[in-house]
Each structure stands twice: as C-alpha cells, then as structure tokens.
C-alpha cells in the first residue's frame, strides 16, 4: 500500500505535473503579453511573472509559483528519480542545466538591482589643437553661464525610475546623513489597507506607513470632511488611476507616514506625495525631535556603486545620409580609491566591474527638444546581477546534454539501420 507521501513525491516528480506546469506557464505568458495593452512592462512583470498568484482578469497561478514548482519537479523527477544509465545521461545533464537556469532566475529575482545613471558631458569647446583637452585660450559654450569650463559630470549612484523607497534621513550636526530605508515591496501591499511599523534602536520614534496609493495627489479637504475630522493638516490623498506611458509607468505614489515617539509624546503624521505644482516632485518632510533633525522622503529607489564614474566625452555618430545610429559611445573614467582608469563604453561593450554592468542605453537632449544643445548627456543602464552569467552557462549545459542524447539516438538509429540493411543469411532450400 503506497502512503500519501509516496504518492505526493510521485506527483511532484511526474510527467503530468511537468506537462501541466508548462501549459500553465504558456497560459500566464500569453495573458501577460496580452495585458501589455493595458499595463506597463514593469507592471506586467510584477503582476504575472513575479507573483505567486494572479487574481485578475482570471484567477491563475503566477510565474513565481509555477517556476518554483517546476524547479522542484525537475529535481525530484528529472534528477533524483530518473533512471540513471547510458541511455539517460544526456537527459540528466539537460535537466541539471534547466535546474541551474531556474536557480539563476531565483537569484536574479532576489538580488538583482537595476537602474539608470545619467551624466552630463563636459561643455563643448573649440579643440584648436585637437588634443581632446580643454586648454587655456580655447573657447567653450558656457552652458550654465557660470564663467568657467565645466568638466563632465561624475556619479556613484544609480536610480530605478520604476520603484520607490521611503527614506528617513537623520541630518547630523557634522553635515553627514544617515538614511533608514524601506523598499517599495514592503509598503506597496498597503494599497489594500493596513499599516506597517518600522523600528530601530537609534531612532527616537517608530515609523508607521499606511494608506499607500500607486498614483495620487494631495487635495484640500472639503468642508464636510473637515467637520468629520478627515485629513492631515487640511489635506487628503486623492487616488488617481494608474497611468502608463510607453513601457514605463508615470505614476507618483503617495502614502501616510506617522512618527510615533518612543517617549510617548504626541505622534506626528503627514502625507508624502507629489506636489500639486507641475514643476515639483515629492518634497521631503522635515521633522525635529528634540535636538535631532530628520527628513522623511518618498523617492525613486537609489543604489550606490562601489566606484565613481565620470563622463569625459560622449560620441554620437550617424551613418552617412541617414538618421540610423552608427555609434553611441561614452568615454569615462572610473575612480576607485586612489585609482583612476579610463574606459570606453559603447553599445555592445558594457563596463563590467565588481558585479556591476554599465550599458550604454541613451543620450540627450534629443534634437526635437533641443536642436542645438550646448551640452549632451549620456545615460547608462546599471545592472547588478550576481547570476548574469548563469543563463549562458545553463544553456551550454542543456545544449551539451541534448547533444549527447541525440548523438546517442543517432548512433543507435544508424546501427539499427545498418543491421536492417545487412542481408540476412539465406536458408538452404529444402
């Protein structure tokens, strides 16, 4: 008599489950692709592929759940329980490759960070002697009118325009700052209600986040709301439908932040949201607690690079007579400690250093905005992905396994054919 667990293990490693998972993966991919008509690429990824369950437009399993179960199915059925021998060697190797690929995607899902770093190039100058260096006597376009030649901008942080974070910054008397950061994945679930409390031994207050909205603006309370005591400081957060523009959503989130002092004194609360003024974004909230000064901000997610990059020159060349780009190139200097290294980043030659990859991804201002810019900027996509080489190696392993398997099949087939074509010895006539 087989126990429940034996049956369960059989099921986990079964062909039927693998088949069902592949069908469901196909389904979620199809629906997710179709939903890109309504959602941004980022939102589709979050909703269909980085989720456990999808509730609308039809309830279905999310990509994260399906791939997790598929990972287990592959290990149980494709590696542990598979019949091992010469005939299954290639298949076994391919399964190892698939498991490695799935594990790599898990690592990427958990640890990958991605964002943008935009740097302005130096001001343009008349390079009389063609040495690429601004020399005394050469003329330059003083784009910011400050009377001096400005070198290219340098930066050591990259910003993800798609995700947000709440940062509680303590402004130290020395001018330094310490940031206590809550990432978006912690507070975005508050869209449906509830609150989350954050604590730290060195903070004189607890931080409570609530009332998150993906796209919101402040509005003054109505007379009725004021009578009913609704609103914070005379304002409420008015939700707007989430919008999409191109592949990236252009939403301004908002939430309620409450600081609850540990000494039991009165809590302070505010809305963090975009200013109603077109030209302003989300303006941080300054708070004083005794002698200590803080700022609470809702901002795009920011990561630090372990090195600094300065843009020395940006090259933008077109093919003769047409608008097609021939080359986008950035000549940069990487500073780390006391070392400075000159490097060249172009479309298919990213800068790879210490697990970070900087790809040439954009430039500007575009001609339709400024036909004769006095200064150009270059935008790099920055990716930190500890498993960025895993897909390559996994695919090589899978290819090797399939090659072994099909070569063996071919050899067996050829042998069988050879045997079939070899004339059988004729029996003697009776």
């Amino acid at each position: 008599m087989r126990t429940f667990w034996q049956k369960f293990i059989d099921f986990l490693g079964s062909f039927e489950l693998a088949f069902a998972l592949l069908v469901l993966l196909g389904l979620v991919t199809f629906v997710g692709t179709m939903d890109q008509q309504n959602l941004s690429l980022y939102d589709v990824q979050k909703k269909y592929f980085e989720s456990w369950i999808v509730t609308s437009p039809v309830p279905m399993f999310g990509g994260r759940l399906l791939l997790s179960v598929f990972f287990v199915n592959m290990i149980v059925g494709g590696i542990v329980r598979i019949r091992k021998g010469k005939s299954t060697l290639g298949i076994l190797i391919s399964h190892v490759g698939i498991v490695a690929l799935l594990f790599g995607s898990f690592i990427e899902d958990q640890f990958k960070t991605e964002g943008q770093l935009t740097l302005w190039a130096p001001e343009r100058f008349s390079d009389i002697n063609g040495n690429g260096v601004f020399d005394p006597g050469e003329r330059f376009l003083d784009s910011n009118n400050n009377g001096r030649f400005d070198d290219g901008e340098s930066g050591a942080q990259y910003r993800d325009p798609d995700t947000w974070e709440v940062a509680v910054t303590e402004l130290m008397p020395t001018g330094a700052a310490r940031e206590y950061v809550v990432p978006q994945e912690h507070f975005e679930k508050l869209e449906d209600g509830g609150s989350t409390r954050y604590q730290h031994g060195q903070l004189p207050f607890d931080v409570v986040l609530s009332g998150y909205a993906r796209n919101a603006r402040p509005r003054p309370v109505t007379a009725g709301e004021a009578r009913d005591g609704i609103g914070l400081g005379g304002f409420v957060l008015a939700s707007r439908p989430a919008v999409r523009a191109g592949e990236r959503a252009r939403n301004w989130p908002g939430l309620v932040v409450t600081l609850q002092p540990k000494d039991g004194s009165r809590a302070q609360a505010t809305l963090l949201c975009k200013s109603a003024s077109e030209s302003q974004g989300i303006i941080p909230w300054p708070v004083r607690m005794g002698e200590r000064r803080f700022q609470v901000d809702l901002r795009n997610r920011v990561w630090d690079l372990p090195f600094r990059v300065r843009l020395n020159r940006f090259v933008h060349e077109k093919h003769p007579g047409i608008q097609m780009a021939k080359e986008y190139s950035s000549y940069v200097t990487k500073f780390q400690g006391t070392r400075a290294t000159d490097l060249h980043i172009t479309m298919n030659e990213p800068l790879r250093h210490e697990g970070y990859t900087l790809y040439q991804s954009g430039w500007g201002p575009p001609p339709e905005i400024d036909p004769n810019p006095s200064r150009l900027y270059s935008t790099f996509s920055v990716v930190a992905n500890p498993s960025d080489q895993v897909p390559l190696w996994s695919c090589l392993v899978i290819a090797l396994g399939l090659l072994i398997h099909f070569m063996r099949k071919l050899v067996l087939h050829l042998k069988a054919e050879s045997r079939r074509r070899t004339p059988k010895p004729q029996g003697e006539m009776a």
Binding site: E16, W52, N145, T169, P173, T174, G175, F235, S279
Partner: protein, 400 residues
C-alpha cells in the same frame, strides 16, 4: 491529469489564503541603513505641509482649498536646499522688480503693462524680447513650456522631456531653457503677424512665490545670430534694490511670519543692489568684488555648525568639529551671541563665483524662530581693515 488537478487544488487554496493575509499592522526592524557624507537633498526646516503639496497655507485659504499654484508666504525653494527667495513683497508692485543690461545692438521698447522689460533687435521689427513675472507658479514650468511650443506649432513635452531640457542661470537659479524652431503664430497680446521660419528662445524660472519668463521670438536667422546676446541679457537680470540712498538706519522688508530688521551702515560702506532672498546687501565704498549681506532663514536654518562649515567649504577649508566651533569668537547681537568666523582661501560660491585669494567673514545668529547670517566675502585686499566695520554692522542689526 485528474490526479494532478486534485493535488493542485489545495495548493491554490493555500495561495489564496496567503494572499488574503496582510491586513493589520506588521512590525519590522529597519535593515537597510546607509551612511552618507551629506544628505541627498535638504528642505527648509520650516516648510509647511501645504507648501510641500504646492498649495497656499490652508489656514489662509480655508477648508475649500483654493489656487493650487498660489503664492507661498513663507518662501522656500525646497530644491535649492536653502530657504531661498519668496517672503512675498520682495517683488513689490509699482517699481519694476528687475534690473538688466541691454545687449549692444538691442533697444528697449515700450511693452505691455504685464511686462517688466521689453526689447527688440535694432532694425529687426519682427523680433520681440520680453521679461515678465507672475505671482504664484504661473501654472508651472511644463504648462508654460508647452504653451510656448504650441505658439511655435511644436508638439507638447512630457515631464521627462522637460526634465531633460538644458538649464540657464536666472537670479542664481537653474531655469529651464528652450530653443524651439517652427512657425511663430504669435503669443498672448502679440500684435505682429506670424513668422514662417521662426525660432523662439525662452527661459522659465518657477519658484514657490513667482514665475519669471524671458522670451525671444523672431526670424530664425536673427534669433540664432542673437542667441549669445539673449543669454547675456538673462545673465544680467538682477533684483532691483528699492529705497534709493541709504539712510543711517533702514527697515527691512517684512517677511511673512518672520521679523523685520533695522541696521546701521558703517560710514565707509554703502548699500548695494541685492540679490533674491537677501535682506540687504552692503559693501565698502569702492570695493568692486566684495559684498556683505544679511540672510534670514526660518526655523534653525540648518543650525550654526552647518552654516559655519558650509562657508568653510566654499573657501576650500575643512569643516570644524563641534568643539572647534564652540571655541569661535562670539559677540552680542540681537539679544544673543553671534558666532563669528574668518576664513581665507579660494572662494567658490553657490552661483559659480570664483575669487582667488579671498577672505570670508561670517556671523551666525540663532534665535528661537529664525537664523540670521551675515556674510562678507571678497578679495583679501578689499577686506583688509574691514573686520571692525563688519562686527559693527552685525551688532547694529535690530529686530524692528
């Protein structure tokens, strides 16, 4: 397949239960803590919630709100990292609020009453250059840039495209600079006919209390040839110093919610034209590159240490420790002790000024509701022997 379906059903139910969780309050420890040598941005400590939301103070407008782009009585451009301009009334009615230097080859012309300055290129009647300001934000930068683009028959920009536009300094602040080719259909109140091959140069500076516009339209070739002059004009715009000759003691303009001041100018000094945000600017007579000014910040204005070390940073000096600052000279001023500092070196100011061999005298007065700074900087040769005058000027400042 039936077996698979049966076993997947409880998994789905478990997921649904998990998804339903999440209501109520969870508690977490902060795990992502980052130390920085300086904050990524700072806002004035006295900024109100209404100002952060882009509204007037609700106490002034009542529960129904009002003009979302209204003025900002307490001032403060949060993105400038300091209290900045504002303090309504600086740009008073009546006298023109700006001064400028008309570029060679241009002439001033009489413009409409809504303009603060109006010019054209000599011999080019189709050109039109204007300077104007609006109270409030004038609808915001994006709206105005797109209004101009419409006048040129160009498509609207979105916020990201606006952010990518180049900047030009106006009154020491970064203003959006547009350069739009197209067919000019005429702006508000335009009397001229449309121009086919036209170009528009424009600068928009949006502040919490005001929006400032400088615009140049005309035939494309003429505008291109005069682009550098347009940028010269923009760079030369300054706030006008009203009040004429300085009497021995003068009241400062009233700043919303903050005190006004009087002061006595030393005999060998004179009052100069100020810049946006300053209470008053004075300087030794004959000193060309030196000025001394009072600057008022609400709240603690960043505190004494931050201001002292900010000035030291402008002089290329290392910051002082709190103990070293505690040891700085102090004098009586405004009923408290003003902290004094001197520094020498190469001065690099926020607006790009650069003075080699400079001297900086500074004083910080921290009161309960505001912080007043007195700063004097210029070439060491011009400041020689002026320390006593600086201290006398500082001590003469009184609340009105």
């Amino acid at each position: 397949m039936r077996r698979a379906t049966l076993l997947l059903a409880p998994l789905l139910a478990a997921c649904a239960l998990l998804a339903a969780c999440g209501q109520g309050e969870e508690t977490h420890e902060f795990s992502d803590i980052r130390d920085r040598t300086k904050p990524r941005s700072t806002v004035p400590p006295n900024i109100t919630a209404a100002q952060r939301y882009g509204y007037r103070d609700p106490r002034a407008m009542g529960p129904h709100g009002g003009d979302p782009h209204g003025g900002n009585p307490h001032g403060g451009d949060p993105h400038a990292g300091m209290a900045g301009m504002g303090h309504g009334g600086t740009m008073g009615a009546g006298a023109k609020p700006f001064t400028w230097k008309t570029p060679e080859g241009w002439e001033e012309v009489k413009g409409s009453s809504s303009r603060d300055g109006s010019w054209r290129v000599k011999g080019e009647p189709q050109t039109d250059i204007s300077l104007s300001k609006l109270r409030g934000t004038g609808g915001g930068t994006l709206l105005n840039v797109n209004r101009w683009r419409k006048q040129m028959g160009a498509a609207d920009l979105d916020q990201a495209a606006l952010d990518a536009l180049p900047k030009l300094k106006v009154l020491d602040r970064d203003a959006v600079y547009v350069n739009i080719p197209g067919r000019y259909g005429g702006g508000m109140g335009s009397k001229g006919a449309s121009i086919e091959d036209a170009r528009m140069l424009g600068v928009v500076l949006t502040l919490p209390t005001a929006a400032i516009f400088v615009k140049f339209t005309g035939p494309s070739k003429v505008v291109e040839a005069n682009q550098a002059k347009f940028e010269q004009l923009v760079a030369s715009i300054e706030m006008a110093a009203h009040g004429g000759a300085a009497p021995p003691a003068q009241p400062a303009p009233k700043r919303g919610g903050l005190p006004s001041f009087t002061w006595t100018i030393p005999e060998s000094w004179e009052q100069r034209k100020g810049r946006m945000g300053r209470v008053v600017t004075v300087a030794p007579k004959g000193a060309k590159e030196t000025d001394c000014y009072l600057y008022l910040l609400g709240g603690d204005g960043g505190g004494i240490d931050l201001n002292i070390n900010r000035w030291r940073g402008q002089m290329g000096q290392k910051p002082l420790t709190p103990e070293e600052i505690a040891g700085l000279e102090r004098v009586d001023a405004l009923g408290t002790k003003a902290v004094l500092m001197k520094a020498g070196g190469a001065y690099g100011g926020q607006s790009g000024e650069n003075i080699q061999g400079a001297t900086l005298y500074g004083a910080v007065i921290l009161k309960d509701s505001y912080l007043l700074t007195v700063k004097m900087r210029g070439p060491a040769s011009e400041l020689e022997g002026e320390w006593d005058n600086f201290v006398a000027f500082l001590r003469s400042v009184k609340e009105k």
